[in-house]
Amino acid sequence: MFDFSIVTGWIDNLLRNTLSCPGWLTSTIECILVAVGLLLAYTVIAMFYIMYERWVCAWIQCRRGPIRVGPGGLLQIFADVFKILTKEIVTLWHNDKFLFWLAPFFVVTASVLTFACLPWGKGMQVIDFNIGVFFIIAVSSLGVLGILLAGWSSNSKYTLLGAMRSGAQMVSYELSVGISILTVVCLAGTMSISGIVEAQNDGWFIFKGHLPAIIAFVIYIIAANAENNRGPFDLPEAEHELTAGYHSEYSGIHYGLFYLAEYLNLFIVSGIAALLFLGGWMPLHIPGWEGFNKVMDFIPSTFWFLGKAFFMTFVFMWIRWSFPRVRIDQMLALEWRILMPIGLVNLVIMALCVSFNWVF
């Protein structure tokens, strides 16, 4: 299987030895290259996701979705992006201007930081250190700060209610996400992202960890949906109650940033699900089936990762477009009375399984 570190190593070698740049310059150039690459990927994926959601949603709702702009509606997304870029940014009168302006950047920054941690392919990772998963949990929680700021600084009752709901929801469901991630860490024995992927070389965790891993997977799907403010947990922006929740007062590109972050977060949670339970970029390997494993290895690792992430996204969209929305008290009860206790017990079971070596 092609190792992308060959490419990165070659560039590094080129800068350091062939062009004999000093160390600081090498690092700077590499950082810029990585940043440009990341942001490009970020935008392209966001654009793809908006179309993806529209197509899946149309398919589920017996509609045809966007078909007018360009062949098969492919140019629709460019029209949408240009529209949102050219829209006026409405300024409010009686609000906290600085925080209002800052809030969308908090949200986007949090999602870019998490985005950077994803294992894109073999040797194709921006941030990889021994507490990678912990870092993901930490930076992804930054987003809620942006949402709270947005709701508060808009000086509107609807946004405030949205932000309050959002705060309660994201802080609660962060626990379940954390616990289900811990369950996997327990199985993998490492917090490093590349380590977790490597540990799934002989079987994905959802197969290796059997029952506790499946429970953790289900909890993760529910909690990630909630953490992402997506249906059936889209209370913070419940359109039919709070018009648009915390971002009611935003317009133009500021609103666009929230929108962007929302879709990227969908990709990120799908990517994390792929990483933790479906082997990240690791091809499907079945122990003993050497020929099969060899064939699977021919598919590039990036394809594996993206394919798994898109599949998980499809699951999330399917859920969103099928279920009605829960109520705030039901949502909190679900987390604190059901998901979290189950998750904790599940963690203990996983620990027992690992210590007695009851895993495949």
Binding site: I60, L161, R165
Partner: protein, 549 residues
């Protein structure tokens, strides 16, 4: 009738009786009215105030009350009036029949009659700085008096009560709707879930709703006033613009009322076609209501499922009436033209696919655990409250009130077809939703029978009776109810018997079901969460133009 007359005579010796109209008319002096109202409700069980119509008789101002005994379905008609045009005052009956609260506010708005002891005497539709009372015959409608005001209404929290002291003197008490300590959130008039231009002001504590104030009138068009300046044929245009999801039924009601007044016999075929259109309309309305209820709870997909089948119904309307909304199909004496040759085929196709599609709707939404959690035991409306607030239609039947006009006061050909009145008893959001789902099955059943009947009649036939070009009604008043999509829709027509060739209605009043439905929003939502406000109002399912008229 004589029996009731005797009993009322014993309760109130001052009452005068008139048996010449369609119902027994009891005229009561205002000072005896409140005591009689209480006795009528408690002793004679006239517990359902069907309609309250304000009328200006030039020499006097007053109200017509239509009462119904929900056990026997007998109706009674009471007239109360005052000759004082400067400071007209009547006693309130809002403590006897809760529905009178909003109805009296409407009368106050249009006729300026102040109701003594009414708890909250504010205008219901018009702005509080409106000059004059539009439905009075001496109303000055010059635009200088009431220009288009663009400033927000001031002091919208102010209200008052005229309280009668023990010695008979009247005292005005000024009040506020919301106190300064309350956190009031404004829902509407531009809000995705108020189903139109409706505005609530909700006092909330955290997410808990404490009190809701209904602010109505954002699309009030003054239809009753407009009708007073038109011929009877022209007024037929308006009822379908009230509840546009009950366009056929509303127009049917006005036609029936005029036919009753004129004594016109409608051909059997015409009545059959009207009834089929009514049921198609009901089906389409309930499909929309399913869509909106699910959408308001976040299940966007279900909305499209409902609309998919609704499209078929609209195609049927399109073929026969030439329009998809505001069809203008019924007319005095029958229908405008005969049905399209494909009509029966299309209706049969719809009837054939509906049962299967209904199963699909249930599969997608009804059994869902989140949907059950959102609707079960939420927004309970007891049977007593439903009658007290005059809640009819699917929402009333969900509380167990036997109120289907098709069964209580059969009109058209409803006693020739077999169908069941769907009655549930809990009165929560889930029941209101289920009543609609079950009524769709009944509508399909009625339509199937109608198709058979229409096939027997042949492809063509007489579809309209002979009607004079100039319609002149004798002096008098008539009231006709039909079962619209959302409840009993009543039409009150009063004629002064004007001998001129171009006669206009003296007073026309539409008793719309949604007006009463919005009256229970506060009652059902109080103590529930803010998210429930949306799901409860969606399950009550009102249409704003029907409230605002």
């Amino acid at each position: 009738m004589a029996d009731i007359q005797e009993k009322i005579g014993a309760l109130c010796p001052e009452a005068q009786f008139d048996t010449s109209g369609e119902l027994l008319l009891v005229t009561v002096p205002d000072e005896k009215w409140h005591a009689l109202a209480q006795a009528l409700k408690e002793e004679l069980h006239y517990d359902y105030l069907t309609a309250l119509v304000g009328v200006d008789w030039k020499d006097s101002l007053g109200c017509m009350y239509y009462l119904t005994n929900t056990a026997t379905q007998e109706m009674l008609h009471v007239k109360v009036s005052t000759t004082d045009r400067e400071n007209p005052r009547l006693h309130t009956v809002s403590d006897v029949w809760a529905v009178a609260n909003y109805q009296e506010r409407e009368v106050y708005d249009f006729f300026g009659i102040v109701f003594i002891n009414h708890p909250d005497m504010r205008r219901f539709f018009l702005r509080n700085d409106w000059v004059g009372y539009p439905l009075r015959k001496d109303y000055d409608d010059s635009p200088e008096l009431n220009p288009l005001r663009l400033n927000p209404e001031e002091n919208e929290d102010d209200t008052f009560s005229l309280v009668e002291e023990a010695d008979g003197t009247l005292k005005r008490i000024d009040k506020k709707v919301f106190g300064p300590e309350e956190y009031v959130i404004n829902v509407g008039p531009q809000h995705p879930s108020t189903h139109g231009v409706m505005r609530y002001r909700a006092s909330i504590e955290g997410e808990l709703v404490k009190k809701i104030d209904v602010v109505s009138g954002y699309i009030h068009r003054g239809i009753e006033k407009l009708c007073e300046g038109m011929s009877y044929q022209s007024t037929l245009l308006y009822p379908e613009r009230l509840d546009y999801m009950a366009a056929h039924m509303n127009r049917h009601a006005v036609c029936l009322c005029l036919e009753k007044a004129l004594g016109i016999e409608v051909p059997h075929r015409a009545e059959l076609i009207r009834m089929m259109m009514d049921e198609l309309m009901r089906l389409s309305s309930h499909l929309l209501s399913y869509g909106c209820l699910t959408m308001d709870q976040g299940a966007t997909t279900a909305f499209f499922y409902g609309f998919r089948e609704r499209e078929l119904i609209y195609d049927i309307f399109d073929k026969t009436c030439g329009a998809r909304m505001s069809m203008s199909y019924s007319t005095i004496g029958g229908v405008v033209k005969d049905v399209h040759p494909d009509f029966i085929k299309d209706v049969r196709h719809l009837c054939a696919i509906m049962p299967e599609k209904l199963k699909e709707y249930h599969k997608l939404f009804t059994g869902n655990v989140i949907a059950m959690g959102r609707m079960k035991d939420v927004g309970i409306l007891s049977k007593e409250d439903a009658i007290n607030y005059a809640i009819t239609g699917p929402s009333g039947r969900a509380s167990g009130v036997h109120c289907d006009v098709r069964k209580c006061h059969p009109y058209s050909l409803y006693n020739e077809v077999e169908f069941d009145e769907v009655l549930l008893d809990k009165g929560d959001s889930m029941d209101r939703y289920m009543v609609r789902m079950k009524e769709m099955e009944q509508s399909v059943k009625i339509l199937e029978q109608c198709c058979d009947m229409l096939e027997k009649e042949g492809i063509e036939g007489e579809y309209c009776a002979k009607v004079p070009k100039m319609i002149k009604l004798p002096a008098g008043h008539w009231y006709q109810q039909v079962e619209a999509s959302r409840g009993a829709f009543g039409v009150y027509i009063e004629s002064d018997g004007d001998p001129k060739p171009f006669q206009k209605p003296y007073r026309m009043h539409f008793q719309s079901p949604c007006f009463n439905l919005v009256g229970v929003v506060d009652l059902t939502c109080k103590g529930n969460l803010f998210a429930d406000l949306i799901s409860i109002t969606a399950s009550i399912d009102y249409v704003i133009p029907d409230i605002d008229r």
